[in-house]
């Protein structure tokens, strides 16, 4: 493909073919079944259901009138396997192989949705059929996951049909590099990988940095246990990453990108790798893209899997083929990244926002979210919550809305106790602060962090001392061992927590933990050590009484800790 016209042609013809997914019945096709191919649904054997459906379609002689597509993660993982059937956008959940026949024969052939497979809002009498009417989805706003309900992640044409690569076309043909950076700055987009740094500023620094070549890197290491936001994007919409990176390449003057993906994500690697091949084939990567003289290509680097490899300097070191270990900053990657060259490094989710911002404009993007946190954020809901899975909400949505409305509240009528944001090194926020809007600054003020989007809900059966121990244990395991505060300090914190939770805590242990925590935070080399004490500090801040009960009374109100006298 060489010209904008060609892109438009592909888009239009493909869009026409996919009208059915926008709810327009087709003359030639009866249905498109979008089967969720996210990790959860795959592990509950959604592919077997697809096979069963195919058989059944063939049996009924309509195999050529129905498309079955394995999409990226749709989000509501605890209900998996889930599927959406177009044109009427019927949402099915908890599917089994035996349900294939009912869907094909009742719904597709006769037009009667299978009632027992529909979603029922807790407390509601009637099920809700259409995906767009379900509360769980209505409260969400999808920018990053804009395509996961609609496209076949293995089809570049599907992506193009949804305006894919139009932003790249615009950036290459209608914008100066400086304008692209300005636009990203104006959008207010902040990095979704944890630190929340202004993406536009980062690009600006790198564009201005001396040295060449320059590099564009996508951080797809996603080491937070239980998190799979980035995976969902990589598997569900890989072209959005490629497009975002190419736009950045244009903006900063780089011709080479790297995507660092953890080895544990083989499907993400496969999808991305195929997407890169397709993009090359379509001339959307490679030399002289859209005949503008702009060259850009992307390579995949597979990560060894250590959590700390997600830290930016460790990741860059790892790309260079060395032991993935953080190094001091400055110099920042903007000045000295891969092989010492100026490098932009952004998170998967950050990249996925870029095409939308360029296409629809900074103004549009900045209407979403709060004053200082623009756009949406993808979260992975986990723990004691009814609807576990992936959600995308506008910044500023309150914790209460996420936990109780989108997440469906706490199972078995238990009492909410706290929500942990920011992954293993985030902070625990108690019930009193449920009305806090989720944005970088409000969470920070509570001693928590946005992090990359982990959100773990705890109920009354969770012991907060035990949970602090659990998280610090993770950090002890994942510490790279380079700097002494983190290497030894987190270990000592764990040991103190171990003695508190076994009834051997001492007077002064809380203060010792606080002293350790504040010193580690302020002296550790990288973000891992600098944030590892957060769960301990925040649980002491909000649940100090539980610590005291453990130490003084050998009492665990949640009945989790066992005290050996």
């Amino acid at each position: 493909m060489k010209s904008l016209d060609e892109l438009a042609k592909i888009r239009d013809s493909r869009r026409a073919a996919l009208k059915i997914r926008e709810g327009v019945p087709s003359a030639t096709e009866k249905a498109h079944i979008m089967m969720c191919g996210g990790a959860g649904c795959i592990s509950s054997k959604c592919t077997d259901i697809v096979e069963a459906m195919k058989e059944c379609l063939a049996k009924n002689g309509i195999a050529d009138q129905v498309q079955i597509i394995l999409t990226g993660c749709m989000g509501p993982c605890d209900m998996g396997p889930v599927a959406i059937v177009y044109p009427d956008a019927t949402f099915y959940r908890r599917l089994k192989v035996k349900d294939a026949e009912a869907i094909v024969e009742e719904h597709i052939l006769k037009g009667n949705p299978v009632q027992r497979l529909l979603y029922r809002t807790p407390g509601a009498k009637e099920p809700t059929r259409c995906v767009h009417d379900i509360d769980l989805f209505k409260k969400q706003k999808k920018i990053v996951l804009r395509n996961n309900f609609y496209i076949d992640p293995t089809s570049i044409e599907d992506y193009i049909a949804r305006d894919g690569y139009a932003a790249l076309a615009k950036a290459l043909t209608q914008m100066e590099p400086g304008e692209i950076i300005e636009e990203v700055k104006k959008s207010g987009l902040r990095g979704r990988g944890g630190a929340g740094f202004s993406t536009g500023m980062k690009w600006g620094f790198t564009a201005a940095a001396k040295g060449s070549p320059k590099y564009v890197v996508c951080n797809g290491d996603e080491g937070d246990p239980g998190a799979f936001m980035d995976r969902s994007v990589l598997e569900g919409d890989p072209h959005s990453i490629i497009e975002g990176m190419a736009i950045c390449g244009r903006a900063i003057g780089s011709e080479q990108g790297y995507v660092y993906v953890r080895a544990e994500y083989p499907l993400a690697i496969e999808r991305l790798s195929n997407a890169i091949d397709d993009a090359r084939r379509y001339g959307l990567l490679g030399k002289n893209i859209f005949e503008t003289g702009f060259n850009f290509d992307i390579e995949i680097r597979i990560g060894a899997g250590a959590f700390v490899c997600g830290e930016e300097t460790a990741l860059l070191t790892s790309i260079e083929g060395k032991r993935g270990e953080p190094r001091p900053r400055p110099p920042f990657p903007a000045n000295a990244g891969v092989w010492g060259k100026p490098t932009v490094l952004n998170n998967v989710e950050t990249w996925a926002n870029i095409p939308e911002i360029i296409l629809k404009g900074a103004e549009w993007f900045s209407t979403i979210g709060t004053e200082k946190s623009k756009g949406t954020k993808v979260f992975a809901l986990a723990g004691r919550i009814n609807n576990t899975g992936i959600v995308e909400v506008p910044m500023g949505t309150t914790l209460r809305e996420i936990v109780f409305e989108i997440g469906g509240g706490i199972p078995r009528k238990k009492l909410f106790k706290a929500v942990q944001t920011g992954g293993p090194s985030g902070g625990c926020i108690p019930a009193d602060y449920l009305d806090t809007p989720v944005d970088y600054d409000s969470l920070g003020a509570l001693g928590a962090i946005m992090g990359s989007g982990g959100m773990i809900v705890m109920d009354e059966d969770t012991c907060m001392v035990d949970i602090a121990k659990f998280f610090i244990d993770f950090c002890v395991d994942e510490s790279c061992g380079k700097c002494s505060p983190c290497r030894i300090g987190t270990k000592r914190m764990l040991e103190i927590l171990e003695r508190i939770t076994t009834g051997n805590g001492k007077e002064g242990d809380i203060e010792l933990l606080q002293e350790l925590a504040t010193t580690i935070k302020s002296t550790a080399l990288c973000g891992l050590g600098q944030t590892a004490p957060n769960p301990v500090l925040s649980t002491i801040r909000y649940f100090r009484h539980e610590y005291e009960e453990h130490i003084k009374e050998h009492y665990c109100r949640s009945g989790v800790c066992e005290f050996k006298e």
Binding site: A306, R323, E325, R327, P328, P330, V476, D477, E478, S479, C480, G481, K482, C483, S484, P485, R487, I488, G489, T490, K491, R492, E495, L512, E515, L516, T519, K521, S522, T523, A524, L525, Q530
Partner: protein, 577 residues
């Protein structure tokens, strides 16, 4: 220039200067542990943190560059408290065997604890408990005492380019070890001991062989002789607190006698002998079209490096043994015969600035006398320790002379201790032997100094002799790669394993840094100038040795006793199953 304020004092420094360096200019000493100037600047230990106005966290002074208008406080109560806690954490994972440790009173960790006024360790918990690795004849690794500063890794990787040890495992379980936690003896470690020189604690140290020497000295049946390497006389003083660069030749000899050595000899003697053998070997190679360039072979760390990494270049190595091993072979043959002592009763000790010599003396080839030629090698550090244990106040000993005949030497033998010295000594002799004329100027200053690779062309009669001199194995690589690529037209190359040559060897007193190396080098040339004879071929004892025993350089006996061969070694020795 960048202007900043440190502890209320304004200072302007060049861009790229670190806070640590800027503070030093103001006379403010920020404590450090992992930092090693120019070599290890990784910000790992966090002992050097300071407060920078406006920064969210403390800033490590050793790695943080200054910035315009920066306001730094190095000694607020808060920052001192933070440093103290970090040190307390490091000590909470330390065996605390100070009183019985080889680095007692010469340990940077101990010094910090004292300086910080640390009186209590509040953390009781797991301690690192990896076993001690004493597989190597020269180097002991004790991971329990390791503070993971990685200076050793930096030296081994960046300076020596051997890469024998790296960080292994992660987090609290981290340790510095050969890949796959292999033992040091089984990997390509060249035993240079440079790691032990920079280790702030006793986590890497020399194998202590003083016990074996004490035992031999106490044995009435043993005739215990000792040789002292050229560099030792400008080093050993430091072990009793003398200024770096102090020359203690006479006191050291006196001290050795008082320890009970029956004869005190000098490696300088065989250094002179080396020049005659090696000089003739060079001439022979030039005249007969032998393999050139010829490379010196006095440095056992370099030899092992060549065997592991450049086995294809082994034919370039001179076949001469090192002066230590020439001495060993002669002591149990020539000297035994001359003194009428059964070589079986001779216990031959050498004092070396070097750990690799400990390894060298155990090589199977080093038995040409029919016995192990050198029985024990002690480093300068160990000799200092023996003096201390014997209550010898070396500073106040009278100066004494070496014993004859193996203690007679020239300035040419003496300068073997400094990088370029072997080359200079060889040139002094080769020139006069070839031209038959006296050298107009005996000082080949182009050979001297710390520059990594020195090159020169020296006119010897009709022949312009092209030479190169390297110190530190990283620099050796540069020249070796040139040879490999066929781009080297040198005749003769001197390669010393350790930075600065032997005066900076892995067995030197601690600390040894660039400044101290330079002082020892100065002392070496001062000592050379003080000598009556300064050319190896003028050494009367060497000439006597040829007349009485060896007959002629490269003769039959020489080949038997003074020359050796080399072995190609694998990068990783295969594990025995």
């Amino acid at each position: 220039m960048i202007t900043l304020t440190i502890d209320n004092q304004k200072i302007a420094v060049e861009e790229g200067t670190t806070i640590l360096e800027a503070a030093e200019k103001l006379g403010i000493k920020i404590p450090t542990l992992c930092y090693l100037k120019d070599i290890n600047v990784i910000g790992a230990c966090r002992i050097c943190v300071v407060e920078v106005q406006g920064a969210k966290a403390y800033v490590p002074a050793c790695v943080a560059p200054v910035a315009e208008g920066m306001v730094v406080r190095t000694n607020t109560p808060a920052v001192i408290k933070a440093r103290k806690l970090i040190l307390e954490l490091i000590l909470s994972d330390h065996p605390m065997e100070c009183l019985t440790c080889v680095r007692n009173q010469n340990c940077e960790l101990q010094k910090l604890a004292e300086a910080f006024g640390l009186t209590e360790i509040r953390f009781e918990g797991e301690k690192t408990s990896y076993p001690i690795d004493n597989s190597s004849p020269a180097i002991v690794r004790d991971p329990r005492k390791c503070v993971l500063c990685r200076r050793c890794v930096a030296v081994c990787t960046e300076i020596q380019t051997v890469n024998a040890i790296q960080a292994q495992e992660r987090g609290f379980n981290s340790l510095i070890a050969p890949a796959f936690n292999e033992q040091l003896a089984n990997v390509e470690c060249v035993q240079c001991g440079q790691c032990s020189l920079v280790c702030p604690t006793a986590a890497i140290h020399e194998v202590d062989d003083t016990g074996r020497v004490w035992e031999a000295l106490a044995d009435p049946k043993k005739h215990v002789i000792v040789q002292t390497a050229p560099a030792t006389r400008v080093q050993v003083g430091e072990t009793i607190g003398a200024e770096p660069g102090s020359i203690v030749t006479g006191q050291m000899v006196a001290g050795l006698r008082r320890l009970g050595f029956d004869k005190v000899f000098d490696t300088d003697f065989t250094a002179d002998l080396t020049i005659l053998e090696e000089g003739n070997e060079l001439l022979q190679r030039i005249q007969t079209g032998g393999t050139l360039p010829m490379i010196t072979s006095c440095s056992p760390g370099w030899i092992k490096f060549a065997e592991h990494f450049y086995p294809d270049l082994l034919p370039h190595l001179s076949t001469c043994k090192s002066p230590q091993q020439m001495f060993g072979a002669l002591a149990k043959t020539y000297y035994a015969e001359k003194a009428g002592i059964d070589p079986a009763d001779i216990f031959s000790v050498s004092i070396m600035p070097c750990t690799a010599k400990k390894y060298e003396c155990t090589r199977p080839e080093m038995k040409s006398s029919g016995y192990q030629d050198v029985d024990v090698v002690l480093t300068s550090r160990e000799l200092g320790r023996m003096f201390k244990q014997a209550g010898l106040d070396m500073a106040n000993l009278p100066e004494e002379e070496y014993d004859a005949p193996l203690g007679i030497s020239t300035g040419a033998g003496e300068i073997f201790g400094a990088s370029g010295g072997v080359m200079e000594a060889a040139l002094r002799t080769v020139y006069e032997v070839v031209t038959g004329k006296e050298l107009p100027n005996i000082n080949f200053t182009e050979c001297r100094g710390l520059t990594g690779v020195k090159e020169a062309t020296v006119q010897v009669g009709d022949l312009p002799v092209k030479i190169a001199i390297t110190n530190g194995l990283g620099n050796a690589r540069k020249v070796l790669d040139k040879i490999r690529a066929g781009e080297a037209d040198y005749h003769f190359i001197e390669i010393m394993c350790c930075p600065g040559g032997c005066i900076g060897g892995g067995g030197s007193p601690i600390p040894t840094d660039t400044e101290i190396r330079l002082k020892r080098i100065d002392a070496t040339y001062t000592e050379d100038e003080r000598m009556a004879l300064r050319k190896s071929h003028e050494n009367p004892a060497v000439n006597e040795l040829y007349q009485e025993f060896l007959e002629k350089p490269l003769g039959h006996k020489s080949h038997e006793l003074l020359h050796t061969h080399y072995t190609k070694r694998n990068r990783y020795q295969e594990e025995e199953c």
